[in-house]
Structures are given as structure tokens and as C-alpha cells.
Symmetry: C2
Subunit: 615 residues, 2 copies
């Protein structure tokens, strides 16, 4: 046996031992899922994975993403072997305040993203690999450890399909085929050829090997690295819990520490303290796109413009001014108007096809390397990627999602295409920003602001045209709002956003003729909401009416109520929203049916004013 | 040319003409996406699809699901040719009040489910096909028309994978490879062999054919029907807009009516009024599982039981009592405790593996045929299927989703496994029911109630044990709540659910010693919330404190605020919720860090009582 072979076997055993130790110290975790992949990682980190432990931010460094995030004990054992953490920290696994959480997060560098919801690491890896090829233009490689259970997730196949189509030869998926899921055998078991057939059909170079034969694994990695024009997958047959008889290849051993860790460590040959001589990054600096001065677009007061169209134009201008801005779309770019960006900045536009999970994941992958992605599709279809958005917040990802075709105001296409839950869903994402401009000038200003806004950002745009009411020189900001009319109103404040602002305006005008004074507040920033303006409305006016093209739950109305929650007094709040399942019809008909058009708003205001007078 | 061939060609042209006419009458729609698949449908409905137009509810009838729901003009043209609707109704397409919405919904029988969000019809078809084989045990077939653009959706591959694994030879996917998506060519274009390779690798019988050669299509259907042991896919090469030069195989013609419909109709040979002699369903009655008396489980006051465990036991008992109850799980049945059901009722348990979109879709498919599905996984991972849940509401589907491992109280696994947005997401689904019991007896009662509750139902369960506080003979109901203590309290009402009920109880006990009287209200039904009990708390007490193991947005606190929104007076409401991204730690540590344990609640109550006194 060669020296290298022997070292790698020992290193694999060390990774197992450290996985067992970390899980034992924590009293929980997934040691057996770690042990199956230990030899794969031992070979990868011994001279192939290129990172600089002293400079984890090297832009040319390789990326290692554990799509099977529950193998976190192995991941942290790898970080120790690389010299990134010490043994004492390894044993803080899963303890309060430790950087080593139950599943990897960016709290421990160089972790790019949070994993632990299966099927997400690979599509994000696709995003990083695209970034390497087409944005950074650096020769880094992306190594993604995948579990076999997660091969059932559709998002994996979105990733396989897209990577095959893009020919991402800088991406290698390492599939740990240990056969056993949480409760039973996977659909394919040890049918490694079955996986290989699927992967080849999706345009990948598939390499089947014994995942515990370190020389075979080395050959597989060499094959992967030498393969050009398509991504490679190493389909490794392994044993779950490999190396410890009490758990090896046995069902019922998932996700728990070993019963007798001392005996297991002994069986594995005891503790070791091997450190790997890490291959260094190839160097190089990221590509930068040319920029030039360009004005942000603006529109005259009274012009009729769809905010989705303003989004496209603003993003295009922003892309001219800033080379770090990139756009992605889910094959509806002529609906979201990201097509404007594509036409102007073809090199920085990414067609993700009808695969919203891959769309959001690619954006997350791009921001890993500091790019500023804007990803767009119909707002309704962003619900397809909700788990990816949720995890994006844990990944501390900075992404901007633009969802068009909000609400019943889209009209004839019917409810499948109408986003009516999107504000609720995005508000309930940690640290998120939720914007719903009512006109084109607001939209342009917010697009510009979003480029520098951290976290998960959601911009909701409209299919139909709305009149421009915001002067181009008025300050529009995240957390802001504007009083559209009735600054001195005392009877009622109508709080609206998006399509309902114009309806509210027209309702207020009609009410004025009846002697009812109504303020119209445009809360284009739903989260954070302009609490000062909402409180002022509550202070100045005898009643509040909120109106939104959204279900009643979790939208603008609830954001207003939350703002006033701890106020000892506040006027009654009437929430107007979509309360019945819409069908098809014209935008006007559907807004009317939902009671959120000018007529419905005016009727609601009359009712609350009457009630107030009766008290 | 044979008579049948000629008839089918004519029928195909009629379907095209009617697609053009319906879209022209509506002024919108997708005629070109309809025209590519017209010949496929003409052959299918002429003697192969088995339905009874006079009895659309025949349990043995075939199912036709348009996964490419935007081909609704074709679907409605088919319904006309089958004699289900007349020509006048066809021309109501997309008009207010019409049953013929922009995308198909169950408002027009025999439509099983709503489609229009791509990639959903096939996984639901898998659910219906499983139902035919393993539940109904009837020889009906499921025919699913798929678009080629939606082949990029991961959910399609979850479906292909699962159907291949199950060997669903009663399922045929008809893939309309018209090459053109909304804005450009698809990834595979006309590479029908590329699709066939993928499908074969996933265990399907793939049949490539010219989708406009009706004899070739007939042969393909015959092959599909004759194939046993695996599902079949007809990969049909077609032309988008086939038959009308102005649009045929041209980009930029997606999703809009034809510019000159009269000329197009003439080019297609004019209007026809062919009616198909429909093949009749084979007959037979659905299988019924044996039932027997069994008590619902109950627990003694003070017992410590996890509500997820109570879910498993209650569902098992319910399954004994009711033969229509079935269970599905996303390969975490030993965590959700659906394993109890599997062990007792193996024939009615469905392992959906780590594929949450297919999990929810299969449940939707089963309820199409009147079964009562309960599908379970970690609540966090139900976010993966949010678009399917959203569409489920449009499908008028009756499904019950049980999500375990709610909130930070799961402890060490960390945020990727913690559902903290689930209540917000499910509340914002039209007509949904959202339940979060705090103890085992509540859970059992709610599981029983859910079996007869329509719509999208979500039951949130806990990983850790909680003490049983609800007497087994106390009425627990959807829309109910319970006063845990402090019926006569006047200082404050603490409104809680799930894990926070016990914390609130202990806080109230501590406060009592300090002379502060606190009511604890357990709102186990979050939607619908017990408005009467919430209003009583607001009336009786000087302050309200809501406390939930969830982000602040869209959860229990917002449900309480909404209930009180239009009240002219109400006490101040303090919302306690998880406000910072949690890490790993023990359940106790994490509840404490979030300020939602007994100590945090008591501190918040003291603050509001102090503030109230200061006013």
C-alpha cells in the first residue's frame, strides 16, 4: 500500500472518530451519515480541494458545500483536519453559542450557505459554478456532497438538468450512496448504475466507484477534474456507519449518537490528530464588468406605466451603472420585463427556465461570491421556492426577488397566476424586506435601494398600468411611505399599497364630495413599514381602513395592526382584502368583486364613519 | 387514409379551431400551446379515454389532467367534443362567472384539480394513479398532458421517479414537445430522444412519436396501454401553433390570441361540430377497507407526551375506525409518528420519500377520489410544497398536513429544521384551517375533527413532550380554545398555543405570587381563532400578551390582532415571538433566548402591567 493511500485511510478514520466524538459530546447529531462519506472527504481534502486556511476569503478558492447538511459532524471534522478549527471547538458542536450548529451555517467560515433542508446544496452549487464560469471567470471548482435520500427531491433534478445544459465542468457532485434513509432503504438502494443512468441522461459524466476504496475515489476525482464540457458526478457506493459494527449498514441508526462512542472510537483505531497539507487556491482576481454613467429612468406625473415595466427599465439602468448587478428569470422575462436587462447586459442575464427552486438557488449561489442578483418570475410562482427563501435567510443571503402579476388585478388568467399570499410569506422570513410600489417612479427608486439592502428582499410588481403619482424628486426609501392626499384629513385614513393606491385615491376624492375627509397613505414599504406614518394616521384620523390585493392574512393590514399593537388607544381598523376565491374576469371586475376597488373602499369608509358617529 | 384517421384529423382541426375561437372571444389565452397538442387529444378522446358524460362521477372513469394548464382552450374544446359543454359555454372562456377559467379548475366538472402552475398536474396524476392501484383498486387510467417547458420543474422528476418506482402502469404522461417556451426554445428543444433517455432512466416506457401523425399517436397510446409494470410517456414532437402559418413554430406567439382569428379558422378548414363517441368507464366499485371499533387514545392529566406522538396514535385509531383515512409521509415517519399508522394499516400508508412536492401532490390526488389523506413531515419542510398547497386551495382539495418539529423548541438541530414561518404561510391559504395543540388530548380530538374538515388543514405538532392539561372529556373543536387558568383574571391575558402554553401557565403561576392576575388562553385553533374567547380576554383584562414559537409575522399574535382590529377599544397587545435567528442549543435555552419561556413571559407581563399602572 502506498503512503498516500495509507494516509488517506487514516484520515478517513480520523474523520469518523471526530464525527463520533462530536456527536457524543453533543448528545445528538448524525454520525452514521458522516461515517459513510468520510473516505470521500479524506481523499478530496488531501491535495485536491484548494483553500487557504489563513485566508478563507481568497476569491479563487474552491467551494465545498454539504448538500447533505446533516453530515455536519463530518463537515466540522473536515474543518479540523484542514486547520480551520481546533479540537476544542469541534467538541462545542450543537451547544448554545457555538459556531458549529446542528447543520452547517455561514456562522462558521468558510461555509458559504446553510444546508439541512435536503436538496438545496446542489442547486446552490450550480449557482456558484455558473458564477465561476460566467461572472468571476476564475478557475475555482465547486465540490458538493450529496446524500442518496435527497436524490428524491425534485430540486436536485432541476440542478442536474441545468448544470448539464450549462456544461458546468467546474462542478462535481459527490453522491454518498449509503442506501439507508432515515427510516428505510431509499428507492434505488445500492443501484449505483441506476443513478449513473439518470445522471448520464441529464448530461453528466457519472463515475461509479467504491466510496471506501481511497484509490478508486482518487481516480474518480481525477476523472471528474479532467472531464471537460460537462459536470461530473461521483456515485459512491458506501456503508452507512462504516467502520463500527454496532451501526454499520444497519437500519434504525439514523440521526443519533452512537450508544458506546468509546468502543466505536477504539474500533476505528482511536483518536488521531492528522492535519492535511491543503492545496492552495490557483489565484486570480474576479472579472469585473464595465460600467458607465446612466440615469435611472423616471416618468412624468400622470403617465400610465406598469410597475413590472418600470422594474425592467430600472434594473437595466442599474446594471449599466453597477457591474455587480446580475439578473435571473424563470423563463417569463417578457412578463417580468427582465428582458430589458437581458437585451442590455446579455452576459449578466441568466435564463433559469421554469425551475423556480433553481432560480432562487442560483441567486443565492451568486451572492456567495458578492454579486448582486435580482431574480424574477410571477410572484405566485416564487411560492415554489419558499423553502429556499426560508433557508436563504439562514444562509445570510442577500438576494432580491421580484414577483410580478400580483393579486386579482391580473384579471383573466385566473387564481393560479395570482399572488395573493406572497406578502404574508415573505414578511414571515427573518430579516426580510417587502416592497410593493404603486407607481413607476417608486419602483425605480426602490430597485436602486435594493442593490444595497441586505437579506431576503421581495419586490412585488403589477401586471397592469398605474398612474405615476410620485414626483421623481421625492424621496422614496425602504421603510418609507407617502401621503397621497388628505394630509389634514381627520375622518379616516385609507392605507394602501400597489394597485389599491389609485383605487383609494379615487375613493377619497368621491368621499370628499360627500364631506368625508380621508387621508390616503401609500405604504409601498410593507416591511419595514413606516411606523411613524401609520401612527400619525391613527392619531389624526377617527378610523383606519387598510386595503390590499392579497388575502386578509399576513399582508398590509396585519402589518398596520402590528405597528399599532401596543398602543393603548387606536381607532378601529377595517381590513379590506380578497376574501373569496377569485375566478377569471377583467381586472376591474375582479377588484370590484373583491370589494377593493374605489367603490368598495368608499362603501367601507362610509360604514366606519357612520359607526363612529353612532358611538 | 382510413375513416378513423380522417375523423381524428378533422377532430384535431376542430380542437384547434375551437381553441382559436375561445381565445379570440376572451381576448386572451394560449391558443398556440393548445394547437400543438390538439392531435394528441383528438386521438385520446376518440375511443380511448373512458368517461361517461352523463355521469361524470363514475368512480371507474379515467382521469384526464392537463398539467400544462395554460392549454385550457384545448381542454375546453375537448369538453365540447365530449359533449360535456356546449359551444355557447365554450365562448364564455375567461369571462366573469364562467366555469371556464383562464386555467382549468374544478368549477367545471369533471376537472379533478386546478392546474396552471406548471409541474403540478403530473405529481397529482401520480397520486390518482396510486389511488387506482392501491386504494380504489379500479382499472381506471390516468392521462396527463404535460408541456415540455415544465420538464424543467423538479416536481416533474419527483413524479417521474416515484411513478417509476411504484410501477404505475395505469399512468400515461403525454409530453407535448413543441420546442418553444414563453420566451425562447426550451433546454432540450426537439431532442425527443433526450427526453426519452431521461424517462427510461427513471423507469418509464418512453415512446417517441410525431404528435401530428394521428396513426402514430394511436400506436403510441396502444403501446402505453399495453405496457405493464411501468408507466408510459408519449414524447410527441409537435409544432406550437400547428396549422396556422402566422404562428406555427414561431417565437413570440405564446399566450396571446391570434391576430386574425377568422383567417386562422379558415386556414384550419373552418368550424366543425364533431362529437366523439366516448368510450365508457369499465365499471366497478371502489375497494373499501375493513373498519372496527377502536377508542381514540387519551391520556391522563399531567402525563408528559409529545403532540407528534399523540398525532401518530390518534391517526392510527382513526384509521381503524374509518377505512377512508390514509397516511403519507416524507420519509420521516419515525419523527412525525406516522409510523404508528404504517404499522397498523400498512395498505393505507404511502412512503413518499424525501419529496415534499410529491407528498402533497399525492395527497391531493387521493382526495380527488374521496379518500381522506393525512400527510406528514417536519413543518419546516412543508414550505417546500407551498405552491402545491396554494394550488390545492384552488383545487378545492381536502387535505390534512401534519407538520412536526415546530419552532425553536426542537433545540439542537438548529434553524434549518425549525418551522418558524409555517403558521403565517398556512394562514394565508384560502379557506385553510390551522391548528396547534398544546397537549396530547387536544391533538387526538383535533385529528378526529380534521377527517371531516374541508379545505387545506394544517396541524402543527411539537418535538418535545408537554404535560396533558386538557381533560379527555372536555370539548376540543376547530375554532375553539381553552382557558387554562385565570378565568377571573383582570390584569392580563396571556394568549398562547403549542409549546408556549405550558410556559405561559408557569409564568402566570409566578405572577400570581406577585399579585398579578393573569388569564392563560390556549388558542389551539389559530385559524379559525376563537374570536369570542379572544374578545372576552380583551374585555376582561387590562392588557394582552401573545406568545408563540414562531416569527412575529403572521402567526398567533397577528391572528389575535386581526380579531380585535375593528374593535373601537381594546387593551394594548404585546407580541412575544422569535425575533432573532436561533442557533443550536437545548430547547430550554432557545426558548429562553427568544424570550418566550416562562421567565420571558413573566417579564413582559410585568412590563405591561407597570405601563398600565403608569397611565
Amino acid at each position: 500500500m502506498g503512503e498516500r493511500t495509507e494516509f488517506r485511510r487514516e484520515l478517513g478514520q480520523q474523520l469518523r472518530v471526530d464525527s463520533v466524538r462530536a456527536s457524543a459530546a453533543a448528545g445528538s447529531g448524525h454520525p452514521t451519515s458522516s461515517m459513510s462519506a468520510a473516505d470521500l472527504l479524506a481523499v478530496l481534502i488531501d491535495g485536491r480541494l484548494r483553500i487557504d486556511p489563513a485566508n478563507l476569503d481568497d476569491p479563487s478558492a474552491d467551494h465545498l458545500i454539504f448538500s447533505k447538511g446533516h453530515a455536519s459532524p463530518l463537515y466540522y471534522a473536515v474543518l479540523k483536519a484542514l486547520g480551520v478549527i481546533d479540537d476544542a471547538e469541534l467538541l462545542t458542536f450543537r451547544k448554545l453559542g457555538s459556531r458549529l450548529e446542528g447543520h452547517p451555517t455561514p456562522r462558521i467560515p468558510p461555509t458559504d450557505v446553510a444546508t439541512g433542508s435536503l436538496g438545496q446544496g446542489l442547486p446552490i452549487s450550480v449557482g456558484v459554478a455558473i458564477t465561476g464560469k460566467r461572472l468571476d471567470r476564475l478557475p475555482y471548482r465547486v465540490w458538493c456532497l450529496c446524500g442518496d435520500s435527497e436524490m428524491a427531491e425534485g430540486s436536485m433534478w432541476e440542478a442536474f438538468q441545468h448544470a448539464g445544459w450549462e456544461g458546468l465542468d467546474n462542478l462535481t457532485a459527490i453522491i454518498d450512496v449509503n442506501r439507508l434513509g432515515q427510516t428505510r432503504e431509499t428507492m434505488l438502494g445500492w443501484d449505483t448504475d441506476g443513478y449513473a443512468r439518470r445522471l448520464e441522461a441529464f448530461g453528466w459524466n457519472a463515475i461509479v466507484c467504491d466510496g471506501h476504496d481511497v484509490d478508486a475515489v482518487e481516480a474518480a476525482f481525477a476523472d471528474a477534474e479532467a472531464t471537460e464540457g460537462r459536470p461530473s458526478a461521483i456515485v459512491a457506493r458506501t456503508l452507512k456507519g462504516r467502520g463500527v459494527k454496532a451501526v454499520e449498514d444497519l437500519p434504525g441508526k439514523h440521526g443519533k449518537p452512537l450508544d458506546d462512542p468509546e468502543a466505536a472510537i477504539e474500533e476505528l483505531g482511536g483518536e488521531r490528530d492528522l492535519t492535511v497539507e491543503v492545496a492552495r487556491p490557483p489565484g486570480g482576481t474576479p472579472y469585473r464588468f464595465d460600467t458607465s454613467d446612466a440615469p435611472m429612468p423616471s416618468w412624468e406625473l400622470g403617465e400610465e406605466v406598469a410597475t413590472r415595466k418600470a422594474y425592467g427599465e430600472a434594473l437595466t439602468a442599474l446594471g449599466t451603472r453597477r457591474g455587480d448587478v446580475v439578473a435571473l428569470d424563470g423563463e417569463v422575462s417578457n412578463s417580468t420585463y427582465s428582458e430589458d436587462f437581458r437585451e442590455a447586459h446579455e452576459d449578466r442575464y441568466f435564463e433559469m427556465f421554469i425551475a423556480e427552486q433553481q432560480l432562487v438557488s442560483a441567486a443565492i449561489g451568486m451572492q456567495v461570491r458578492g454579486w448582486v442578483p435580482f431574480a424574477s418570475t410571477f410572484a405566485a410562482f416564487l411560492s415554489r421556492a419558499y423553502d429556499f427563501v426560508r433557508m436563504g435567510a439562514i444562509s445570510q443571503a442577500n438576494i432580491r426577488l421580484s414577483g410580478s402579476h400580483a393579486g386579482v388585478s391580473i384579471g383573466e388568467d385566473g387564481p393560479s397566476q395570482m399572488a395573493l399570499e406572497d406578502i404574508a410569506a415573505f414578511r414571515a422570513v427573518h430579516g426580510s424586506t417587502v416592497l410593493h410600489p404603486s407607481d413607476a417612479n417608486q419602483t425605480a427608486a426602490l430597485v436602486e435601494a435594493l442593490a444595497d439592502t441586505p437579506g431576503i428582499c421581495f419586490l412585488r410588481t403589477l401586471r397592469g398600468k398605474t398612474p405615476v403619482r410620485t414626483p421623481v424628486d421625492e424621496r422614496v426609501r425602504i421603510g418609507g411611505s407617502r401621503v397621497v392626499r388628505g394630509d389634514d384629513a381627520t375622518d379616516v385614513a385609507i392605507i394602501a399599497c400597489g394597485i389599491t393606491v389609485d383605487e383609494a385615491y379615487r375613493a377619497a376624492a368621491a368621499l370628499e364630495d360627500e364631506g368625508v375627509s380621508a387621508r390616503v397613505l401609500d405604504c409601498y414599504s410593507v416591511k419595514p413599514i413606516d411606523a411613524e406614518a401609520v401612527r400619525a394616521a391613527a392619531r389624526d384620523c377617527g378610523a383606519l381602513v387598510t386595503v390590499e390585493d392579497h388575502w386578509p392574512e399576513g399582508g398590509l393590514g396585519d402589518a398596520v395592526l402590528e405597528t399599532l399593537a401596543d398602543a393603548p388607544d387606536r381607532p378601529p381598523v377595517t381590513k379590506l382584502a380578497v376574501r373569496e376565491m377569485p375566478g377569471s374576469g377583467s381586472p376591474e371586475e375582479l377588484l370590484h368583486e373583491a370589494g377593493i376597488d374605489a367603490e368598495g373602499i368608499a362603501a367601507a369608509v362610509r360604514a366606519v364613519v357612520r359607526e363612529g358617529a353612532a358611538r
